[in-house]
Structure formats: structure tokens, C-alpha cells
Amino acid sequence: MARLLHSQKSNKKTPAKKETLYKDAKQNAEEIKRLFSHGTNEDFISRELIAAFNKKKVYLFFYSSIVNSNSIEEFVIKPLLEEEGESVSDVITNKDITQISDYQQAIENINNGKVIIFIDGDDNGYGMEVSQFQHRAIGKAENESVIKGPKEAFTESLYVNMSLVRKQIRDKQLITELTSIGERAKQSVILVYVDDLVNDEVLENVKNRIKNIEIDTVRNVELLEQLIEERPNSIFPSILYTERPDNAAAYLENGYIVILMDNSAACLILPVTFWDFFHNPEDRYTRYIFGNLTRLIRFLGLFLTTMISAIYVALANFHSEMIPPDLLLAITAARERVPFPLIMEILIMEIAFELIREAGIRIPNPLGPTIGIVGALILGQAAVEANVISPIIVIVAAISGLSSFAISDVSLNYSVRISRFIFILAAGFMGMFSLIGVFLLLFMYAASLKSFGIPFFAPVAPNYKSQGDTLFRKVLRAEIWRPTYVTQKDIQKKKKN
């Protein structure tokens, strides 16, 4: 038993923290080879050569899949073989070189796409930045598309994303602060903020939350979002998720914090309010009147998608006197042949619509058109003709489904869809009375929410000095203040006339 434990210990592949390097380069090389399972690991490369400047043996290690082999050849191997000089840093022409003193560092360096070298007679190792992680090229924003406005979207590379943000805000105060998360496989997280605008309390809060994540791996911001949010059970989101760098930049300028990670073609923005989920970047890119028209339509969409089915249930089941006689008789005539209670009809159609939506996302592209035929034909026409549902239900469900797409934010979209079902059941309980009751409860709950200390309906309730961009926005020239619920530092962003 003791021997078994011992052998396990000597074979372990993760060295204890701060386990320093051996004095001997060869011994170090053997240890690294063992740690990275050299020989089994196909893309783990080890190379030995004799350096020209001190005629000593040099050991190189890197992952061939995540480095740029040209850089290694040109800036590391070639100088080592050919150049003369005093020390390693004199010889190597690579842009960046760091000293390594323990295994932890060595492992991180290799994992992050650096090449490390050990030189006979040198106590330290050296790491050189030659990484080239493969990623998608910068593409168009697909989920948050706009007609007027920049088309670039984030891509799954941290450095590309940082570049995209920095391109928008050329400010020396724009800080990209690196922290890393994950106990086992470390990932870099970049906090982006404008130093002289950011709310320090929120920044501290976020840093703490990231620090306190004790989990083996966190691969991307989608997972990170769930790990740092305050109320994981809430139906309302508390962190904004956007794939648009221009959107991120707009928030940064107002003192918000943006979180970037590798492997995510999006960023997280916090803290947020209800209005941030409701807005779309295009509202600000189009002119005052046009932007507000879209806002109005989107608000109508928000109302319709949450309420129309529920109101229909309430009116038809409890308050038939509120329906004009022509419509009433038309509905009645259609309903006479339908076997289900009205609320079941609505639920069937709403669930069918959710099915189409879910299937539409998951369906492989070549099969895409099929879903349209199935959806429109089977669920629309055939169901009506077979007297399973009445035609007005198709209209109601279509309006409620269609207007849900007006809410472009993915997270709020889910909230809205869930609350729609809650409202339908509430309306079926005691009509308008219970519908309004449940709406008030949900509204009160939303008003009580906070995102990193910021009330969900700020700046409307409670009232704050801000740029006045809530349901409607002001003329750009009249936006004088930064949102004071986020930042207290430099609250005036435009001179008053």
C-alpha cells in the first residue's frame, strides 16, 4: 500500500506549486518530458541543439499545434545556432523573452503557446512568445445584426478581441487587466475598463468573484457568466452578453466593465439594467426619431410577446363582454368544433412554436427549409383544418412568437418567453384579475433585482442623473451626463450649451 502511494506520487503529472527547477538542464528536460508525456503526446515537441554563442546544449520544448513554427525557426533556433553573444537575451531575436524559475511557470508557458528552453549550465529556463492559436477570422455579427453601424463581431481569440476593443477606444486609460481562472487548466480572463471612469466597487466585486471561483476549468465567458452572477435561479439576467465590439466600447465609455476570454466570440458587460437588455446598438446609430421609433416598436413587441396570449385567454374565458361582437361570434364559431379548452389550445400552439424555434436552431443547415414547410403547413393550416385548434389561435401564437424576436438580447429573450407561459397560466386562473396580480408580482421582483449593486430599473426607479437613455433616448446633443449609478468619477461627458 505504501509503495503504491509512493509510486503514485512520483508519477503525478501536476507538480506542487512553486516546485523550483533543478540546477541541471538535462534533469529539467527529462522532468518536462515526463510531465508532458513526451512520446505519447503527438504535438509535444522536444528538440536539442548546440548553441553557437556558448557551445552548450540547449533543450527546446513547445506544442507544435499552438505555435508559429516560422517564428521558432527564425527567431529562436536560427539565432541560437548562428549568432554569437554574451547571453541568451542577446542572441535570441524574439520579441519577448521571460525567465522561468519553477515548473508551474514552465507548464503554463508551454500551455500558452510559448517555447521554453533550458541551457546547460544555466539555472533558469526561458520562455519565448511564439504562440499562434488557430481561430476563426473576424466575421459579421450574426445574432445582433444591424443595418446601420459597424458589422465586425468578436471572434474566439482573446487578442483579436482586445484589438477590436482598443480600436474603438484609443485611450491610454483603457486598461486590459489579466487574471486567470481554473484550478486545473488555467484560462486567461481579461477585464477591460477605463481606469478613470470605472466604478471601483464593482471592479473589486468582479475581481473577487473571479478569484473565488474554485473550479477545474472555465473555458469561455458563457460559463464564466454563470459563475459570477449573483442569482443563478433568477429568470432575469444580470450580465449583458454581446458579440459586438462597438457595443462593448459604448459601455466602456460610460464606466462599465467588459470581460473577455479566449474561445468566446462575445464579451460580458456589467453591471447592467433592464434598459441595457432592451436596447440595441442600432438605436443609437440611427437618428433620434428613427431610433425612438424602433424603440417604440420593440416595446410593443415586448408587450405583445409577453401578454397577447395571456390577454386572449383572460378575455375569452372570463371577460367575453370585452370582445366586440363580430370577433366574438367569429371566435365562437371556430371554437365550436375544437375539442380542447381554450387555454390548452393556446398552450399547444405556444409549445409548438417553441419547438419550431428550438428545432430551427439545432437543425443542420441543409435541412433548414424543411422546418419552414413543417412549421407553416402542419402547424398552421392543417391543424386548423383538422379542427385541432381554431384559426385565431394561430394568429395569436404567431404574433406572440414573432414579436419575441424583437427582443434581440438572448438572455432577456428567454426571460420573456418564460414569463409568457407564466402569464398564460395566470390568466387561465382567474382572468384579468390574476393576470394583473402575477404581472405585478413579477414586476416587483424585477424591480428588486440588482446587478452588481445597480438596481435593475435604474435610472428610472430609483432615479439617477444619467444620459436619459431608457425606454426612449434623447437627442445625442442633449446627452450630457454619464450614468451616475455606474460611475461617479467623471460624470459629465458633454459640455452644456
Binding site: 435561479n233 375569452a316 374565458n317 372570463f318 367575453s320 363582454e321 361582437p325 363580430d326 366574438l328 361570434l329 367569429a330 371566435i331 365562437t332 364559431a333 371556430a334 371554437r335 365550436e336 375544437v338 379548452p341 381554450l342 387555454i343 384559426p391 397560466l425 395566470a426 387561465g428 386562473f429 382567474m430 382572468g431
Partner: protein
């Protein structure tokens, strides 16, 4: 997981509990469009007629349906709402009165004291709206509803909606919703005008004017037998008289609470009395009703000024009124005089016969009293109005002659 179970449990409870309270599926209800009220055979009972809309007729889905557009049933009972329950012995679905458009009362019942007893339940139940129009039918209400057979608007609610709207616009029937009825009856002043209608033909006397008819008298060929014309005058909740379309129009012009849009009417030709001149009467401004009240003598002086515009539509006598100023002056005078005379006649009748006014003028005297008891003591119906000195002035503001000023010269045409 525990939370999740709880949520699912609540969800299921929701579905189970759904359907309690007063939920009712639309197709399990019958919608009454018109209610008829008649005297029952025994004292204290009434006969109720319900005209129920058939939802299948007129909706596109069931275009092939050969069912009738409505079902009309009659039943005896004590009040409207309980009668709906009794009617369920032969009507398949729950009868609801929410969508009722009109209440038809037979003249016989309206003239009796019992009318107020039965109609007051309409104000009590929330099912009957205050906007329901009141129609008085010459025959029994059940006969009226059964005989009424619109050819174009088969669906009854559409028929009443269009019919009443248009007739009200032309002013030949009054606005007579239930709310107004209760307001005037409870106010114990003024007269309430209900719509007068019938499906029975009466002896027609061709008066030559277009609106001096009451329903049933209008010479008509083809179309629906139902005629809406004139009003039934209610005093203190009882019918006391029927007035014709022309008098109803006068009531509408003098009453600020009534809306009337246009009025095509004829007036005697002052120069060639054989003919009548047709004109479009329009009243852009409200009439000015100026009341002065003497507290000591309890005497009121009411002076009414109605300014109106007139567009001449036809001059069959072909006398040149358009360009001959002398003739025009005569015409103006004659029309104003004509209107004033007719109005004065109606006022005289209401002062002497009815003992109250159908114009809702008591509204303008109320401000002279300190409180309601004082106003009641003044007694508009018995003391003030019958003795009031009433002066009516019609002022013709603008006289138009249409787009062609000259009529054809008869002598030139026939040479």
C-alpha cells in the same frame, strides 16, 4: 433539484386549479343581441323574448352553413336574468346578456305602470350594459323581433348597429340608451325619448314631407318591413305619447346632449307654394340656450338661438333664388319662420300636454338652485317649465346653392 421539484409541483397545481372561478368557454355561451319585453298574461308577470345570434352564420369558416342567423325565443318570467335560466330548458347553452344591443319594449307594456318594475332590473345586473338602446315597438316586442327580417345584414348585431347609427345620424330617431333613461327618470325632470319602431304597416297618409311620419306610416316597397322613425315620449318612466320624425329632429337640434350630423329636409317654397325646396340642414354650432330665472316668482325665461347652415339641393319650382337677392331674402325669412313655427308648436305641446320638455333643458336651470332639495322644490316638471316663457330663434348663417347656381330655364328647354 428540490427547488426544481417545487416549481414543477406549483406548475401542475396551476394547471389543475386553472378553470375554477367563473371561467366560461366562448362556445358554451349563447349571445343575446336583442331583448324583448312584453306584458305577461297574468298580472305581474312578463314575457321575455331573446334574440340569440348564431355565431356560425357570417363567419368565413362556415360559409356553407344553412342555419338561421338568429334564434328568437320567448319565455314568461318575473325578470330578465332569471328568465335566461328558465330558457335553458330549450336553449342549449348558457344565455349571456353582455352583448345585448337593444331592448325592445312593446307600446302596451311601456304605457303601463309595470314597465319601471321590469326595466329597473336591467340597471341592477352587470350583464346588461348602460349603452343598450331602448326601442318601443308598436306591436308586441316578440312579434317585432320575429317579424324583423333584414335582407342584407343577416347577423342581428350588425343590423342594429348599422340601422340605429345611420338613423340617429339623420336625426329621425333619438339617442336612447338605458343610461339616459335612468338618468332622466331618476332626475324627475324632462322627458325621455325612446326609439319608435314597428314592423306593422299603418294607414299611410302621404303628407308630402319627408319626415312627418312615425314608424309604420312610411310608404315603402320592398326591403325589410321594419321601420325606425320618431320617438316614444316617456314621462316619469311611462310612455305618454309618440312623436314623429320631424319632431324628433327638432328635439335633436334643441338638445345639446344629442349628436346629429346632417339632416336632409324640405321646406315650403315661399313663392310657389305648390312645390317644396330640398335642403341640407347642418348645425355647426351648438344651440345657445339662455335661461334667466326669477327665484321669487319661480318663473323662468328661456331664450334659444339656433344658428344653422343650409345648402339648397333642389328647387323644383325653378324660381331663381340663387342670384335674385330679393327672392333669396324671402327664402331665408321663410325657412327661419318655418323652423321657428314648428319648434314653437312642439314646445307648446310639451308645455301644455306633456308638462315637461323633451330637450333636457332642466340642465341649464339647475345652477340657479342652492342644492338639490331647493331644486326639487322649484319643480321643473310641474311649475317651472309649463309656465316658462320660451323664445326660439333660428338664425340662418349661410345659404349655399350647390355647385350650379342657375337652374335650367324651362322655357328655353321646351321651345
Amino acid at each position: 433539484m428540490k427547488n426544481f421539484c417545487k416549481i414543477i409541483f406549483i406548475f401542475i397545481l396551476f394547471i389543475l386549479l386553472t378553470g375554477c372561478y367563473d371561467k366560461a368557454e366562448l362556445e358554451q355561451q349563447s349571445y343575446v343581441i336583442a331583448i324583448g319585453l312584453d306584458k305577461g298574461e297574468k298580472e305581474g308577470t312578463f314575457s321575455f323574448t331573446f334574440q340569440i345570434a348564431n355565431p356560425e352564420v357570417g363567419s368565413t369558416l362556415s360559409a356553407g352553413s344553412d342555419e338561421e342567423a338568429e334564434e328568437t325565443i320567448s319565455i314568461t318570467g318575473n325578470d330578465i336574468v332569471t328568465a335566461t335560466n328558465t330558457a335553458n330548458s330549450f336553449v342549449t347553452k348558457r344565455i349571456v346578456l353582455d352583448q345585448t344591443k337593444v331592448i325592445v319594449v312593446s307600446e302596451e307594456l311601456a304605457r303601463s305602470e309595470d314597465f319601471l318594475r321590469v326595466i329597473q332590473s336591467a340597471s341592477r345586473t352587470p350583464q346588461i350594459r348602460r349603452g343598450v338602446e331602448m326601442i318601443v315597438s308598436k306591436e308586441k316586442a316578440s312579434d317585432f323581433l320575429n317579424n324583423n327580417d333584414p335582407k342584407m345584414e343577416q347577423r342581428p348585431h350588425k343590423y342594429y348597429q348599422y340601422m340605429l347609427n345611420r338613423a340617429k345620424q339623420t336625426g329621425i330617431i333619438p339617442e336612447a340608451d338605458l343610461h339616459r333613461f335612468f338618468q332622466i327618470t331618476e332626475g324627475d325632470a324632462d322627458l325621455f325619448l325612446a326609439i319608435y319602431a314597428t314592423t306593422e304597416k299603418a294607414e299611410t297618409e302621404d303628407t308630402g314631407t319627408e319626415d312627418e311620419y312615425i314608424a309604420g306610416q312610411i310608404p315603402q316597397e320592398g326591403g325589410n318591413v321594419t321601420q325606425f322613425m320618431g320617438s316614444a315620449v316617456f314621462k316619469e318612466g311611462m310612455l305618454i305619447d309618440i312623436i314623429d320624425g320631424q319632431e324628433t329632429r327638432i328635439c335633436n337640434t334643441l338638445d345639446k346632449t344629442m349628436g346629429m350630423e346632417e339632416l336632409l329636409s324640405t321646406y315650403p317654397d315661399p313663392i310657389a307654394p305648390k312645390y317644396r325646396i330640398s335642403a341640407d340642414y347642418s348645425q355647426k354650432e351648438e344651440p345657445v340656450i339662455d335661461v334667466s330665472y326669477n327665484k321669487k316668482t319661480n318663473h323662468a325665461k328661456i331664450s334659444v338661438t339656433v344658428s344653422f347652415n343650409l345648402e339648397i339641393l333642389a328647387i323644383p319650382s325653378m324660381i331663381d333664388y340663387a342670384q335674385n337677392e330679393k327672392n333669396q331674402k324671402i327664402l331665408r325669412k321663410s325657412i327661419e319662420k318655418n323652423l321657428e313655427n314648428k319648434t314653437k308648436e312642439l314646445i307648446q305641446i310639451s308645455q301644455e300636454e306633456y308638462g315637461s320638455d323633451p330637450f333636457y333643458w332642466s340642465l341649464y336651470i339647475r345652477k340657479f338652485f342652492k342644492d338639490i332639495p331647493a331644486y326639487e322644490k322649484g319643480d321643473w316638471n310641474k311649475k317651472i317649465f309649463p309656465n316658462a316663457e320660451i323664445d326660439v330663434n333660428f338664425v340662418l348663417k349661410r345659404l349655399d346653392f350647390g355647385k350650379m347656381l342657375n337652374d335650367s330655364n324651362l322655357n328655353d328647354v321646351r321651345d
